[in-house]
């Protein structure tokens, strides 16, 4: 009983998920993207950076990188606290 209920719920959720993913824009055609086109055209002119992804990560969207470095630092601190010395119980 429990297993049939689980299988039914999985099938329903999977069908809804696949249907929703089929309604995203067609693959290979994301439509108009003015922001990305601005990055693609002006990154080399303004910053003389060949790698556009790096110019986005470190310049246009630096706040993301700052938060991400903070997340990495926080994870490191918590792991260090978990395995600190003198915790032999």
């Amino acid at each position: 009983m429990k297993k049939t209920l689980f299988v039914a719920a999985a099938i329903i959720i999977g069908g809804l998920l696949i249907g929703a993913l089929d309604m995203v824009h067609p693959f290979g055609n994301p439509g108009a993207a003015p922001m990305d086109n601005y990055y693609l055209e002006n990154s080399l002119k303004e910053l003389s950076t060949e790698n556009i992804v790096t110019s986005i990560v470190f310049d246009y969207r630096g706040f993301d990188t700052l938060g991400e470095a903070a997340v990495l630092f926080t994870a490191l601190c918590s792991i260090t606290v978990l395995f600190r010395e003198g915790r032999k119980k």
């Binding site: 790698n51 470095a69 994870a75």
Partner: protein, 158 residues
């Protein structure tokens, strides 16, 4: 647990240094080729993993000073990243004050990418220190909680 074979240990010992050089290369050329701070830092952090495989955890932990990884790599990388971001503050946070347009020679010795170059190096240092410390801490945690010394793992330490 049997110790790893000699071929694996010698191969890891040799290739650790090549991975360090390759990670540095990816970090420094991040502004003009595929790569950047995160990818190069993750590659350079495999150095410590290879040393752990090659020499065993006891000898590596006796070599490594974790304060150097913590203070000199992790916090210095994060702090220099934040300071580089704050230096552009008269215009805006994260303003690229060193960048020159294409075809214009830079007045300093910096590349034309400006702060992207330095931020890439800073983030690379930070990610290298953070990932190496995560690996070292998790590997030490195996030993820290065991009541008896792990005799079977000593096969790695020649």
């Amino acid at each position: 647990m049997n110790p790893l074979s000699l071929i694996v240990r010698v191969g890891c010992d040799i290739f650790a240094w090549f991975m360090l050089v390759f990670g540095t290369n990816v970090i420094i050329h991040g502004y003009m080729s595929p790569g950047g701070g995160f990818q190069g830092g993750a590659i350079a952090a495999t150095f410590i993993v290879f040393l752990l495989v090659a020499y065993g955890s006891r000898r590596v932990h006796s070599w490594v000073n974790e304060g150097i990884y913590d203070v000199l790599f992790d916090e210095l990388g994060l702090l220099s990243f934040i300071i580089l971001a704050f230096l552009g503050l008269p215009t805006s946070f994260f303003f690229n004050y060193l960048a020159t347009p294409l075809g214009v020679a830079s007045p300093w010795f910096t590349p034309g990418a400006g702060t992207i170059f330095f931020m890439s190096i800073a983030v690379g240092i930070e990610v290298t220190g953070a990932l190496s410390l995560v690996i070292l801490n998790m590997h030490r945690g195996i030993r820290l909680f065991s009541e008896s010394p792990m005799e079977e793992e000593l096969g790695h330490d020649r």
